[in-house]
């Protein structure tokens, strides 16, 4: 009935309009008169002093929905004017015909903004265009359902002046919408019945959600959603009595409490529970579990300050049944973080921690051991237990010597916490407070923690260069070009990676004396002979005394970029070796570089002249000592004998004197 009336009115209106128009045309202008000038592509005019094109495409105009109208139908101020008319026409008033839309628009946010003189505020032509207006059903129309998000997006896209400069309470509207089930339906699947912006916000009566007349006001939201989700209240009947849903929406959860605007996801909330329903009981501090009498009190403020402030209770505590008096009594499973953090969950299950949990090991750490529960904070929050400076303390809870993880451990990395704290990384993190310093999870990963023997482990020798390279990228690049890395696959001998020289938890500054001296032993673990012979030379002997000034392995060979001597790029290649010597011995020449830095006098084949020099000198030494020794050993007993003879001779001389003295003594005594 209503629609009939509408059509009737429209027809009547059109007839009247046509008649007046024709009447006017008698006096004034046909469209052809206007197009006489405006049909010319180069036609220009001025508006507020600016030169603009005043070309009107006749073809487009005649194809457009207003193609049947005359120019002066809209440009009413030109009616009866002489040609050529003056510049600066009055704005076209669409409301002449579209009065109801005009009225809604005027009251809307957009209309209010125009009234304030906001330059960014959209008027009719910003959405509908002017001469070539097409009906919404025409897919080429900017207001066709598929194009509306782009139309609104002109102003409401993140980063646009409107989003930046005006108070818009939602962010990433377009992105969120396009990812939502509505957006995916519309944009990906091309379902033109899927809601677009205007479906919820209306086309012209766009108002704040706080405005009671707004289609997205809390009171009205159910009505808005039920435009499409007809009888959705039937679905929710178990939650709320259907009729209350519309009548007393203010006391009941509205659609958006569970299905956030723009973000409506294809998530099945186990029958939407509002947090406040949970908090009715869990807000009480005395509430306890009937099974094990642990406290079931939940500090809701903690949740609201946590990373999960926008996550409702029932999203984690799934399986609630809202139709029960105690909706939570149907819960059988513990909170499974992986239902949202799926990827991390998979990583965790593969890790040693996860494997222990799968075995129901009492020592296995589960998510909450590290992340906490309701108060979970992001790792960038200094208060979080997973904040960089707190991680060593966190891991130490189990991995400190004597704690449950340390007692199970059978490897040879002992006192890891103490060692780490004293290491360069530990000092950087704990003493200097550098949060970019490597800590436990930087090397071991947070969720894929595996023993080094596991090839998937970040600390497996195969993966260590990449792990260290996350920070020490330059070193990794050098190392991967080095002989140690190049030999991979070419030798079955174990090749060194970062930790073999730098250790795992006792990493020291490389410019520390202790490290510089220690590194030679590290090289010597594989290069046994060459290290031994190095210690037979001056360089090695001084190093052995504990001084770092003489050349050590890396001074000549390089460290991370070490190459085979046969490689022309090596520091010790024929072309480079003199330069390498010159680093310390400024006057070094080609002959100087012929010094054998790893010489041994024990190898007659490799170094015959050293071998024979040594044995020549040794023979001289032994010969001299044999001669000298025999001479001395023969002499000693004879000299002792001579000494006794001399003493005897002395005694004989002194005897008479002594006798006299004794006699004297005897006399005086008497």
């Amino acid at each position: 009935m209503i629609s009939f009336l509408k059509i009737y009115c429209t027809i009547i209106f059109r007839i009247i309009f046509f008649l007046t128009a024709t009447a006017a045309s008698l006096v004034a202008q046909e469209n052809s008169d206007c197009l006489g000038c405006h049909g010319d592509r180069s036609a220009t005019g001025t508006r507020k002093g600016k030169t603009i094109s005043v070309f009107v495409d006749e073809k487009k105009f005649s194809d457009a929905i207003h193609g049947t109208l005359t120019c002066i139908s809209c440009h009413a101020d030109l009616e009866g004017k002489e040609f050529p008319h003056e510049d600066d026409l009055k704005p076209v008033n669409c409301g002449t015909c579209h009065s109801s839309e005009q009225e809604l628009h005027t009251k809307s946010l957009h209309g209010q903004a125009i009234a304030r003189g906001d330059a960014l505020a959209p008027d009719c032509i910003d959405c509908h265009s002017n001469h070539d207006i097409l009906p919404a059903k025409n897919p080429r129309s900017p207001i066709s359902p598929l194009k509306i998000p782009f139309l609104c997006g002109k102003c409401h896209l993140e980063g646009s002046p409107v989003q930046k400069q005006r108070t818009i309470h939602q962010d990433h509207i377009l992105e969120n919408f396009s990812e939502s089930i509505h957006g995916q339906g519309l944009l990906k699947k091309g379902l033109i019945v899927a809601p677009n912006c205007a479906t919820c916000h209306t086309a012209h009566s766009i108002l704040r959600h706080t405005d009671p007349y707004s289609s997205i006001a809390r009171k009205n939201i159910a009505k808005t959603c039920t435009q499409c989700h007809a009888e959705i209240e039937m679905v929710h009947r178990k939650v709320i009595k259907g009729e209350l849903w519309e009548k007393e929406a203010n006391v009941l959860p509205a659609c958006i409490d569970c299905h956030q605007p723009h973000k409506v996801r294809k998530v099945f909330y186990d029958q939407g529970m509002a947090d406040k329903d949970c908090m009715r009981c869990h807000d009480k501090s005395e509430i306890k579990s009937s099974k094990d009498s642990r406290s079931l009190y939940v500090n809701y403020n903690e949740v609201k300050l946590s990373r999960h402030l926008n996550v409702s209770c029932s999203q984690c505590h799934s399986e609630v049944n809202a139709s029960h008096i105690r909706p939570c009594e149907t819960i059988t499973k513990k909170v499974d973080c992986a239902s949202c953090h799926a990827e991390i969950g998979t990583q965790y299950l593969k890790s040693t921690h996860g494997q222990l949990m799968a075995k129901n090991d009492a020592n296995a750490p589960i998510c909450k051991e590290c992340h906490g529960t309701h108060g979970v904070l992001g790792k960038s929050d200094p208060k979080s237990s997973t904040f960089a400076t707190n991680v060593p303390v966190l891991c130490a809870r189990c991995h400190r010597e004597g704690r449950k993880a340390a007692t199970r451990y059978t490897g040879d990395e002992l006192q890891i916490i103490e060692h780490y704290t004293e290491s360069i990384h530990g000092k950087g993190l704990m003493k200097s407070g550098l949060t970019v310093t490597a800590m436990c999870t930087n090397c071991h990963t947070a969720h894929s923690v595996l023993p080094h023997a596991d090839t998937a482990s970040s600390i497996n020798p195969k993966n260590i260069p990449a792990t260290c390279g996350k920070c020490h990228h330059g070193m990794q690049e050098q190392f991967e070009q080095s002989i140690h890395a190049k030999l991979v696959g070419k030798t079955d001998k174990p090749l060194p990676v970062c930790a073999d020289c730098h250790s795992a938890h006792t990493i020291r500054r490389a410019d520390e004396t202790g490290f510089k001296l220690d590194i030679m032993q590290k090289c010597g673990r594989c290069h046994e002979d060459i290290a031994k012979t190095y210690f037979d030379t001056y360089h090695g002997k001084v190093s052995q005394l504990g001084y770092t000034k003489t050349a050590k392995c890396y001074d000549c060979h390089g460290s991370h970029d070490i190459l085979a001597i046969s490689d022309p790029k090596s520091r010790l290649s024929h072309d480079n070796v003199v330069g390498t010597c010159q680093k310390c011995h400024a006057g070094a020449s080609r002959r100087f570089a012929g010094y054998l830095t790893h010489a041994t006098h024990h190898d007659p084949k490799k170094y015959p002249f050293l071998f024979w020099t040594f044995w020549g000198m040794t023979s001289l030494l032994i010969g001299t000592f044999i001669l000298g020794g025999i001479h001395t050993l023969l002499w000693l007993p004879r000299a002792l004998k001579m000494q006794r003879e001399i003493k005897k001779a002395h005694l004989k001389k002194e005897e008479p004197q002594e006798k006299q003295e004794k006699d004297k003594d005897g006399n005086s005594n008497n």
């Binding site: 100087f592 054998l596 010489a599 020099t613 000693l636 004879r638």
Partner: protein
């Protein structure tokens, strides 16, 4: 009072000139310094070497001490050579007199005779030879120093200035020089602190030390006993008297003995250390 006059009043035979005594004292200081600093490097794999190296102020200051002592040693050597030239001019008149005179440092037939005589005496097969001014073992020690200064000194210079030497010589010769320098030094140190110590200080008639090298003086009785041939020759020629001098004050003797003890103990310590390093820590 009577005793004091007899012990200080009795004139003593002057065996060593002032210059030779000074040179020998300098030689001791320089030799022990060279030995200590050099051995820390040679036996750097022992804890003792590390300890000593730190006491000496690190390898660099040990190196400075070593080079300084080496310069002193060269100085001693060249002073002695200069002194020979001087004495040739003033005392002997010609090289022939210096080299072929009765008190020559060169080995003579007589030394061979003394050597065989000594061996016989050691084995109770003959009397103690009538040793002259310089015995064959003293001459051996004297030439050992010439040999040592030449061998250790030349290789030492190569190690001190390798850049200069390798302008002409191949780099491997530095390795050779290292071996020669080090082993010849071991021989010198080992020989001086054992054989020389016994021959001059530790043999029973001199035990625990003979301070004649510091004072230059020995009692006539000791002179007669130790160098009977020289004593008799001087007596025959009536020249004994002109070689007699007043003995030193007891304070000088005591100081000299303290110095002697320090030198002896350092020498023995080095021997103990070398034996330890060679036997227990050799690599």
């Amino acid at each position: 009072m009577e005793i004091a006059t007899t012990s200080t009043g009795e004139k003593e035979f002057l065996r060593f000139s002032r210059l030779n005594r000074i040179l020998h004292i300098l030689m001791i200081v320089s030799f022990i310094s060279l030995a200590l600093t050099g051995m820390t490097l040679k036996f750097s794999y022992t804890g003792w070497a590390v300890f000593l190296s730190h006491i000496l102020g690190g390898f660099e200051s040990a190196g400075i001490i070593h080079r300084f002592a080496a310069v002193v040693m060269f100085g001693i050597f060249f002073t002695h050579v200069y002194d020979l030239f001087r004495r040739k001019r003033t005392e002997f008149g010609s090289w022939k007199n210096l080299f072929l005179g009765p008190n020559t440092m060169l080995f003579t037939k007589n030394d061979l005779h003394d050597f065989t005589g000594s061996l016989k005496w050691f084995l109770n097969l003959g009397p103690r030879p009538q040793y002259g001014r310089w015995t064959y073992w003293e001459k051996f020690d004297y030439f050992a120093v010439f040999w040592g200064v030449f061998v250790i000194g030349s290789t030492g210079l190569m190690l001190w200035f390798p850049e200069i030497f390798t302008l002409i010589l191949p780099g491997e010769l530095i390795n050779v020089a290292t071996i020669i320098h080090s082993d010849e030094a071991l021989l010198a140190v080992g020989f001086i602190f054992t054989v020389h110590f016994f021959n001059t200080h530790l043999r029973p008639e001199k035990f625990p030390m003979d301070i004649v090298i510091f004072t230059g003086r020995m009692t006539l009785e000791e002179f007669k006993q130790d160098k009977p041939r020289e004593y008799n020759e001087l007596l025959e020629k009536g020249k004994l008297e002109e070689n007699l001098v007043e003995p030193y004050q007891p304070i000088v003797i005591r100081s000299v003995k303290i110095f002697g003890w320090i030198a002896l103990s350092l020498g023995f310590s080095i021997i103990v250390w070398i034996v330890y390093a060679m036997i227990f820590a050799y690599r």
